[in-house]
Each structure stands twice: as C-alpha cells, then as structure tokens.
Amino acid sequence: MQKLYCTIFIVDVSQNPEEVDTVTSRIVQLIEDHGGVIKRQNPWGKRRLAYPIRKKTSGYYVEIEFTAHSHLNIPKIIEQEYRLNDRVLRYLTYVVTPEELRQRELNAKQGKVTAAREVSRPAPARTSKPAEDAVQAPEAAPAASEPAPETTEPESSAPAPETTEAPQPAEAASSTETSNETPSVEPKPAETPEPGEETATTEAPATPAESIPETVKEEAASSPEETPEKTETTEEQS
C-alpha cells in the first residue's frame, strides 16, 4: 500500500554547518534509490533543544516527506542510516494520517488565521524575554520591574492580528515558565517556502524575529543541565 511518510531529524551542526546538506542529501538519495518519491523538504533551521542531547543544546531540524509502498520498508532503511550517522542527534519517522492531511487542508483554507498564529509565535519569545530574566530566580512571581503583571503573559503583548489564540489569562504563570522551553521557529529567510505550509508561513512575514538566533544561542549557552540520563533512554525509541 502506498503511504505518505514524514521523517524529521536533528543534525548536530556545532562542528560543521555543512553536515546538514551531506546528511540530507544522503537521506534523500536513500529514499529515492529504494523507490520512494520525495514530496516535500522543509528545513526548519537551527533551533534550541528543549533539553540537551549528547551535550548539545541546539540542532538543525530537517523535515522530509515522501511517499513509498509500504513493502519497500523505507523507514527501516533510513532509520538504520540515522543510527549509524553520529551527526544525527534525534529522528522521528511516521506515517502521515488522513486526519493530518485534513487538518493541513483546513489550515490552508483559513490560511490567514494560521499565518497570524504562526507569526505570533516568535514574538512572545522575544517580548517575554526581559520578564523572564527578571522572574528567573523567584519562580512565577510577577516581576516587580514590570509595569503590570499581565505583561509577563506573552499573548497580551503579541500584535493584534492574532485571532485563534486570544487571551489565556489562567496560565500566566505556567506560560512564563514554559516560554523558556519553547524556542521560536527559526527564521530562515534564504529558503523558498512552499505556500500554505504551516511552518513555512513563518518565514516570509516574520520580520521581528530576525534577531532571534542570537538570543537563542545566548539562551542555549546559559541553559540549565536538564536530565541528561533521560535523553539516553529515549534515544532508542521510534
């Protein structure tokens, strides 16, 4: 049966940024050699990891979608490659369900809404940053230096066009907590995004996010050591 697969992997680019291309082309080549057809390639760019993997705090995410007959066993083949390649920090391969496709159609239909939503994503990370620093030590306490405690809420400081996720006051505390953990989508101005794709929508209009990479890097440098032993155990999954 013909299936649509999606595979995402994280490449370690701390040594050599060109690794992304070598790994990606290797995977693409493997897929095509074994009879798969590449449908979409989407490099997400360098992002901060939510927890360190093999002592690395950031990695380059690449997403590839392809169709193949299920008896070709392509996921098995490429996962073998992932495991052998020590530049690949993490990988995930899954079969894209009809539900996901329907959701994408929906997103594309109401493209404006999702676009606003995606664009708003980098903004909170930035706006909440000063607040975050101020709050850092006393957990979840509203920062005294802030004009009002609501400003710690990323949504309230986000620009107006946001429609789907409007206010969400109940979680002011938890969102400031977690905003540290959610690295905003890395802007990749150079690439050519496919239209209607959710992650791609961030690329074009996300002008305020240009300065994110530095802040992300800086954050990564000061990131707390988070459960390195857990990462070891989960490596074998998927």
Binding site: I10, L92, E165, Q168, S179, E226, Q237
Partner: protein, 75 residues
C-alpha cells in the same frame, strides 16, 4: 466529596482542530503543567479522543526535543 478542579471547556474543540500537530509547541504547552507533565482530562476538558491525540503529539514533540520531559529544575 472532593473539591472539583477547575474544569475548562476544551480549547481544542473550540478552535476546530481535528489533528493536533506536534510541531505546534505553543499549543501543546498549554496542556503541560509547570513540571512538564501532561494535564489530565478532568482539568483540560478534552474528550478522550482529543486527549489521546494530544498525548501522542506531546510525546513526539518531547522526543524531538521541542518540549521538555521535565522542566521544573531551576527556573
């Protein structure tokens, strides 16, 4: 009698999401508590189907280091 937790109407059904995307960390973060645990259904107000989808998405996101497994260490 236990004091009822603050039950909320599911945001998922309100926003018309039929498939929870694990890439959308901003959405998923709402269903995690401060420690990074998945919020139970009785609190989030999700239906069983939504909760299963959400759990799946959160676990995928965690695997790809988009979300933390644990997050209450020094903040």
């Amino acid at each position: 009698m236990l004091k009822p937790r603050k039950k909320r109407v599911s945001r998922l059904s309100e926003s018309g999401i039929i498939w929870v995307d694990f890439r959308d960390t901003k959405l998923l973060v709402r269903y995690l508590n401060e420690q990074g645990k998945i919020v139970p259904r009785r609190t989030s107000g999700n239906t069983a189907q939504q909760q299963r989808q959400l759990a799946q998405a959160i676990k995928r996101a965690r695997h790809l280091a988009l979300l933390p497994f644990v997050s209450d260490i020094q903040r």
